[in-house]
Subunit: 235 residues, 2 copies
Amino acid sequence: MAGNGASLEVGFDELAVLKVLALEGAHRGEVKISGGDLAADLDVSTQTVSRRLQALEGADCLDREQVADGQFVTLSEDGVGRLKAEYEDYRRIFEAKGTVTLDGQITTGMGEGRHYVTLPGYNVQFEEKLGYDPYPGTLNVTLSAASNRERSILGSLEGITITEWEDEERTYGGATCYPATVEADTGPTFEGAHVIVPHRTHHDTDELELIAPERVRDELGLLDGDEVSVHVESA
Amino acid sequence: MAGNGASLEVGFDELAVLKVLALEGAHRGEVKISGGDLAADLDVSTQTVSRRLQALEGADCLDREQVADGQFVTLSEDGVGRLKAEYEDYRRIFEAKGTVTLDGQITTGMGEGRHYVTLPGYNVQFEEKLGYDPYPGTLNVTLSAASNRERSILGSLEGITITEWEDEERTYGGATCYPATVEADTGPTFEGAHVIVPHRTHHDTDELELIAPERVRDELGLLDGDEVSVHVESA
DNA sequence: ATTACTAGTTTACGAGTAA
DNA sequence: TTTACTCGTAAACTAGTAA
């Protein structure tokens, strides 16, 4: 925490400046620009551009060499990295990427899965839409911190929708299924499972639930705590 | 200018919200989220999230349906369009796009090109890196307003770097070359030329300089004012 | 022409509160 | 729990000036 002068934070506004600079080629090498040009592109004042460039320089996102009528700017590795992270986000959004791999440990759920999977309103849909009658129980995986952060990528995949239904007593919420392959840390894999994501569930869980025609635990010889990789595909 | 309540402008901060929503799949259909989750993702307060969602809704970037414990959000065509525009920018930056076409009129430069092209420090590099000894002179094209705006895309193409050099008197700056094909308005084309962009040049010029093994003007029968399309490729 | 400082104003923020 | 108000404060903006 060196006592740097002012706001050296790189927010979305600063990122926009980086992007414009990269569009001019500053990620590839030295590019000459003037604050006025940037100001016009970004629709802000030249003073604001000046400040944002200082912030970016202070955050080691770019190097500058000022001359009489402008400045030469080169994006640093850090700067390009930030842009690349944004780019990766947009790719995840628009290029329905084929697969996502999530890592975690086998865990024992609270038995809810077993109950729900056997309910007729769901079971009929599983047979119809997934093509099999699931083993009465779910394989639960506690995701690693990194994978849990990636969990949201599932939303960008094509899923198989299980619609909500009701009986005389209550309503049962819908869910989305994604084809998945379970790979045990020790080598063997199980194909033909599905990740099932209930629509009405707390977002802040780090558990992934899967269903399959057979009991995956038995097929792969999995015990609680065993590491697995779940390869999720687009439907 | 309808007297809308407050700041309905969609800035980069609001765009960031759109992006997070899209990562959750909101560009594909209804997605359930809570302001708190978004606030955590974006590292801002829930109040700010609330305000930004209102701004995005006011700008017709998304539709919302609020329920007791959160809200269902769907990105509108407008909202997805804004994200797509961003994505296109990032693609231009990172996916060295194959070709760019710039249009303009043939013009007579100030003869500087002829002088520089023949200097030994450059000539040696041309032979080595481009594979030919250029005709002693440059083909100058005054770009149309639209093409001049696209000129910056060149920076995102892979180029061939001509390094700076010096003699006893002074230093000669570097440049970047891009393979190019010149297409005359009348039909004939010349392949095997190169756009040359000096590193130390004013950004605000609307002239494009090309070098080639032969005199392109003669090969294509070009006169000042003739319209040409320059197809620039990635090296 | 630039860039960047200081000063004054506006805008955006987050805490608290209500529904 | 939610979402969205009000309100006091803090941050960011633009205008003007200097280098």
